[in-house]
Symmetry: C2
Subunit: 199 residues, 2 copies
């Protein structure tokens, strides 16, 4: 299919996001999407192959926007360390700006991960840039050298903190979140006190 989705359809689709959020992709009936968006079923299936394609379309928009913001932050000036903080800010900022889509994405990551197109975008938008910055940082001396798995840790910390705020209060205090997760990731939790088991 991959026909181009006309603007008025694309504009109405986001009304279905909260359905996906509440019921998940499989739990959301197509009739409910019809009711929520006002787009008749036959029209929906004229433009999309499946319910899943509708879902993917909505996430694509988010991921494209996000990838761009992250990429811009990554290509900015400053040390790798400074740009890493900028990337974190871009991620948190994007989540704050699109809370519903982000919640849908994250709370359906499993399902999304099984859609190659989406999985690839997530990888490209989140992991790859962070991983590259970590490598750069160990070259320019602004960050400790670490293995590739560390990018996952950074990703996990940033995303879960944002998710925590979204779930608890419904919105993300961007400044405070970036400061606290940034300082956690850069300086850690330890005080000057007794050294323990740490490699």
């Amino acid at each position: 299919m991959s026909r181009q989705v006309p603007p008025d359809i694309a504009g109405r689709l986001p009304a279905a996001l909260h359905l996906f959020l509440d019921q998940g992709l499989d739990g959301t009936r197509v009739d409910a999407i019809v009711a929520a968006t006002g787009i008749p079923k036959a029209t929906l299936y004229y433009h999309f192959d499946s319910k899943e394609a509708i879902f993917a379309f909505l996430l694509r928009e988010l991921l494209d926007e996000l990838a761009e913001a992250v990429d811009a932050a990554k290509r900015g000036r400053g040390t790798a360390r400074e740009r890493l903080v900028a990337v974190i800010e871009a991620i948190v900022g994007a989540m704050a700006a699109n809370p519903t889509s982000c919640l849908v994405l994250l709370s359906n990551l499993s399902r999304a991960g099984r859609m190659p197109e989406i999985a690839g975008s997530v990888q490209a938008a989140f992991h790859a840039p962070v991983e590259e910055l970590l490598v750069e940082g160990s070259r320019d001396g602004s960050l400790r050298a670490t293995g590739p798995a560390t990018a996952s840790a950074v990703f996990g910390a940033v995303v879960l903190v944002s998710l925590h705020h979204l779930i608890m209060t419904g919105d993300i205090p961007v400044r405070a979140t970036v400061d606290s997760v940034g300082s956690l990731l850069l300086h850690g939790l330890a005080t000057g006190a007794a050294e323990g088991t740490d490699g």
Copy 2:
């Protein structure tokens, strides 16, 4: 229903885990569970209300085991900081010991989150202990004082790193993983170099 599941049934059910892993809960057909476990459909529905209940049963076993390991680590001796590392080790160790169940849990977190029983267990097994240790740590001076969202960051970092290893190589090098994520969380990524924007 909540009848008690007889041992031979319980023993055969894990054979369905890889189905849930590959196809997700909704994507797994009951007939496939029947084929994988050798338990006839009627018997399955004699013991369980639904496919979802089977799924929940499998995760329960994992979560109970995990909650116990984490709790033991948390109640050990030493500073809060040392016990935090022990808790991280318990989590990583449990994931390494039950890779399939863990993958199923994490890659269906969305779905699991909509099952109150499971969501509660995850909260109790992971978040609560970490959160408490962070508070203790700021009291005994072994950890910096941080907000409640920090527990989510720790959780995210630990779980995503483990997940990374599981997906990449199929198993988790426990020692190395605990060391690297432990040192990330305790000491951070920063080198002594140029101080940037960090609260």
